[in-house]
Amino acid sequence: MKKILNNNYLLFLVRFLVGFVFIYAAVEKINDPGSFAFSIHNYKLLPLFTINITAIILPWIELTAGMLLVMGISVKESSFIISISLIIFIAAVSISLLRGLNINCGCFGTAGGTKIGLWKILENLFLLLLSVYLYFFGSGNFTLSCIKPKNIQ
């Protein structure tokens, strides 16, 4: 099992998948921060004065971490950031569902326009699983990083 999980191709594939999802999710939000701020506002979780700054910065964290994952640079750190973000997203969607809010997710900007629901949580859980896997198993060999992680077991 450990051998499969340490497989360089699998690590590369997962890195690419998670990284691409985050880059894709970030681009639309970066392009239209106003709509993303509106989506955040809909969740009614953050105080008003923090909403815009979140809408400005969060997509760039997603973009940077996603790109680092794809390139295989600082995979442990970027997968850590992505895992934490996913946990926050899952919590936000769950709270909103429990409160009975019928809102758009805002996950991929307004273009997707999917409503929040159980499916959204499962989607995020799946990504979280992949991201945690990367956290523990690293980047594999196919990376652009010139500093190879030393103590791979």
């Binding site: 106003g34 701020a37 004065f49 909403i51 815009n52 400005i56 750190e77």
Partner: protein, 165 residues
């Protein structure tokens, strides 16, 4: 297994924040760093005169009723399903969540017409958002019926729809 370097985590976060802030400055769709709470202005006094304002004004049930009796346009900002279930009699439906699809319909309404937006109740802000959007589009006489649907029903005023009650 290599250990996580929290300095790199912090570095990634700071770089991202800096990029975000810089990009927001140059992005033509950039937004202010802190959102301003728009205070809802209430319309006092006589409704017979046109509003001629660049922003919407909130009205109460009594005022909404008055405008209703003058056959002004009521717009339901809730979702299609809610609207179809029941709505203020004669109202049209423009769900704010899908506003882009309805722009052609809105444009059929002359700019000087009086428009009253409403949604679920005081907890619901769709009517305010739609009201602001209409003002942005150049409508000069936009009212937000703030008590909304709930108050309308409680007052026993005319409704229609599949499950009218």
């Amino acid at each position: 297994m290599s250990k996580i370097n929290y300095k790199i985590v912090l570095f990634i976060l700071i770089i991202s924040a800096a990029l975000g802030l810089i990009f927001n400055l140059v992005n033509e769709r950039g937004i202010p760093l802190a959102a301003q709470e728009k205070t809802l202005k209430w319309k006092a006094g006589i409704l017979s005169l046109p509003l001629n304002s660049n922003e919407p004004y909130a009205i109460n049930l009594q005022q909404a009723k008055e405008l209703y009796e003058q056959n002004e346009i009521f717009i339901d900002a809730r979702e299609k399903e809610d609207f179809e279930s029941s709505h203020i009699k004669g109202a049209i439906n423009i769900p704010f969540d899908n506003i882009d699809e309805y722009i052609p319909d809105i444009n059929k309404i002359p700019k000087e017409n009086r428009i009253i937006t409403y949604c679920g109740g005081t907890e619901c802000d769709l009517s305010i958002l739609l009201g602001n959007k209409l003002s942005e589009m150049g409508y000069k006489n936009v009212y937000i019926f703030f008590g909304g649907w709930n108050k309308w029903i409680d007052a026993g005023l005319p409704v229609e729809g599949k499950n009218k009650k």
